[in-house]
């Protein structure tokens, strides 16, 4: 995934001298996903997939099927603004019944760059919970972050890990929640690194989009799509909260977790 993952454990049922092993197990889960999904690694499963002949179903496991099912849902819901096949996801054939994947033509390549961090973080969070972690913050490349429980000694009135969006953006309290922030380098000045897969042109709708929700994979995928989409779409999962810059220099917050979002000045020191 070409980025740094960091994890802080603040509370767990296990004795403290076991926490490093717990952290290691969680980060191992991230490494396993990196090894499978890294399209730049010739030995990865994704690299192997792109060499398969077209119309040849390949068995995939339940975890990868889950990831691709999510991708298909966001791809449809976003009208193709999220496309993990560089604009060719329509040529990807996913069969949940047989658990197979096939490409219609040659040259189709899966690129999970806009969702892999979130999916790996969900897996790592699952490992942490299973091992009895009650308080932790884990992020991938600072763009997707998950808070478990609350930090020790949290100020009164706060209910989770406080994470600020960008330099002067709002602060979000993450308690058993994930947040992803996608950012496009100033679209008014120069092309950003996010491309609208429908047109192949740099995305221009907005410079930043943040999404909060129970799982990191959907927030990761939707935050990328929202960079390109003009408004919060009706197809967005109901459990997701969007945080988008408005025309007046403020922020438009919509969704079930809106109350967890506050202006920086409202945050107790």
């Amino acid at each position: 995934m070409g980025t740094r993952f960091e994890l802080v454990i603040a509370g767990a049922r296990a004795p403290r001298d076991r926490w490093p092993a717990i952290a290691e197990a969680a980060l191992d889960a991230v490494s396993e996903w990196h090894a499978r999904l890294n399209r730049f690694d010739r030995g990865s499963f994704v690299a192997w997939l792109r060499e398969r002949p077209p119309r040849t179903p390949v068995p995939i496991d339940a975890d990868l099927l889950g990831l691709l099912t999510l991708c298909e849902r966001v791809w449809r819901g976003s009208g193709g603004t999220f496309d993990p096949a560089h604009g060719r996801f329509a040529e990807v054939r996913l069969d949940p019944v047989t658990g197979t994947l096939a490409f219609d033509t040659t040259g189709v390549e899966l690129d999970f760059g806009a969702v892999a961090k979130g999916y790996a973080l969900d897996d790592a969070t699952g490992v942490l919970r299973e091992l009895g972690v009650t308080g932790a913050l884990i992020h991938g490349g600072t763009s997707t972050v998950v808070g478990i429980g609350a930090p020790p000694g949290a100020p009164p009135g706060t209910s989770g890990w406080r994470v600020q969006i960008a330099d002067a953006g709002p602060v979000v309290e993450l308690r058993d929640r994930a947040m992803s922030v996608s950012r496009n380098d100033d679209p008014a000045q120069r092309p950003g690194h996010v491309i609208d897969p429908r047109t192949g042109e740099p995305a221009v709708a907005r410079a930043l989009a943040a999404v909060v929700g129970p799982l990191a994979a959907p927030t990761d995928a939707w935050s990328t799509a929202l960079l390109v989409m003009p408004d919060r779409p009706g197809s967005l999962d109901a459990d997701l909260t969007t945080i988008l810059p408005d025309e007046k220099g403020g922020w438009r917050v919509e969704g079930p977790d809106a109350l967890r979002v506050c202006a920086p000045r409202a945050v107790p020191e």
């Binding site: 290691e24 499978r36 030995g43």
Partner: protein, 417 residues
């Protein structure tokens, strides 16, 4: 009487050079004479995996990228690991016991044993007589007695039996061995290897009943420590290259970082002595990751450094230049320049893609599994025999004994020769 420290396939290096005099030019011009074997895509070997722990998960991941074989059965006595493994193996049947697996013997043609090292013998003695093809992960066992028992059981096996000493199937290591046994390195001066990887070696669990089974590597009564678990694989590189085994070892160890109540050293160093006076200096730690894992053979003409997916040849200034070197890919390491050892270099050079060949696309585990499956298909011997693995494992066990006792330990391979 045969020397148990000499490989049965050993050829004196000077004799090899003399015998290969006609072939030396070919070696010089074609530094890619050795390429990995792969199974036939149409082979359809049905494989059962015993053990769905850390190594088992890696095997499952590699199997997803190997054509011509599929995992049809998975066996693990740990319920959670079995469930987790089955999520990664579409279409495979789960078995909670070895009896259950062997009761469904018509569902698989071959078995991979990837259970904890101390349990290898018990599993191997059940699967080797079954007539199935068998791949045994290494180290082969945690005692020399168990190694000998596995070797004896393998002698009567009807299927293709391979041991997982990963270097021997690795194309870069095969290529480098060709250089070592030619005149490129010339006389061996010394050897060095390390395994540095910062990790706990502890598998966390909330269930005290699972803790002992999951953390067998930290159990002093059964573990062979870093020397056994990692060193065995690396020592085997030198055994294989020199065609001989060390005769004695001394070493020491301590806990440098993981002060969590464990009694097994997280940092070790040892010195293995060969009969000709050559010495291998080995160090391993779980407290630092610098430079990871590699082996170096120092010769009077050049040094070879091997790092699993990569290999380099560092030539002395007075070593003769060979024709192909002008086309070679090179990498700078501070004051030294290494010639990259590239498997399939001639074909890649012809296609103008030499740099794309730097570094293997797959892990050593992938090549070892592919080699075994190819051997099942073509009937040729796999890269590593059980006997070779037993001797390498016995070296690792001796090194662990030297480290934990502080004594100089003589390496007795007679029980596994």
């Amino acid at each position: 009487m045969t020397d148990p420290h000499a490989s049965p396939h050993a050829v004196d290096r000077r004799e090899f050079i003399a015998r290969a005099a006609g072939g030396l030019a070919a070696v010089s011009l074609l530094p890619d004479f050795s390429l990995a074997r792969q199974p036939s895509p149409g082979g359809g070997v049905r494989v059962a995996l015993v053990g769905a722990g850390r190594q088992g998960r890696d095997i499952i991941a590699e199997f997803a990228k190997i054509e011509g074989a599929r995992l049809t059965a998975l066996c693990d006595v740990d319920e959670r690991r079995l469930a987790s493994g089955l999520r990664r193996t579409p279409g495979a049947a789960g078995h909670a016991t070895l009896d259950s697996l062997l009761g469904a013997a018509d569902t698989f043609d071959a078995v991979i044993v990837a259970t904890p090292t101390p349990t290898h013998r018990a599993v191997a003695e059940r699967v080797l007589p079954s007539g199935k093809h068998v791949y045994l992960e290494c180290p082969l066992a945690h005692t020399v007695e168990d190694c000998a028992a596995i070797v004896a059981a393998a002698r009567g096996a009807k299927g293709t039996v391979a041991a997982g000493m990963h270097a021997r199937a690795n194309p870069v290591y095969q290529l480098a061995r060709g250089f070592f046994r030619s005149d490129s390195v010339r006389d061996l001066v010394s050897m060095r290897a390390q395994h540095n990887h910062k990790e706990t070696w502890r598998t966390p669990t909330n269930d005290p009943a699972r803790d002992k089974a999951l953390n067998w590597r930290l159990d002093p009564s059964v573990t062979t420590g870093l020397a056994g678990e990692w060193g065995t694989h690396q020592f085997d590189v030198f055994n294989w290259y020199t065609g001989k085994y060390p005769v004695a070892v001394r070493g020491s160890g301590h806990i440098a970082l993981h002060d969590d109540g464990r009694e097994v050293d997280d940092t070790i160093a040892c010195s293995l002595e060969w009969a000709g006076g050559e010495v291998l200096q080995y160090a391993a730690t779980l407290a630092n990751s610098y430079e990871d894992t590699y082996e170096v053979l120092y010769g009077t003409n050049a040094a070879i450094k091997l790092a699993w997916t990569h290999g380099w040849l560092f030539k002395e200034a007075d070593a003769p230049t060979q024709g192909w070197e002008v086309y070679a890919n090179r990498q700078q390491f501070f004051n030294d320049e290494g010639i990259t050892l590239i498997a399939g270099a001639t074909q890649l050079a012809d296609q103008g893609k030499l740099k794309e060949g730097v570094g293997l696309p797959h892990s050593s585990l992938w090549y070892a599994l592919a080699d075994w499956l190819a051997a099942i298909g073509d009937g040729n011997a796999p890269a590593t025999s059980v006997s070779e693995a037993a001797r390498a494992t016995a070296v690792g066990i001796a090194a662990h004994k030297a480290i934990t006792s502080g004594d100089r330990v003589e390496i007795d391979l007679s029980a596994v020769s």
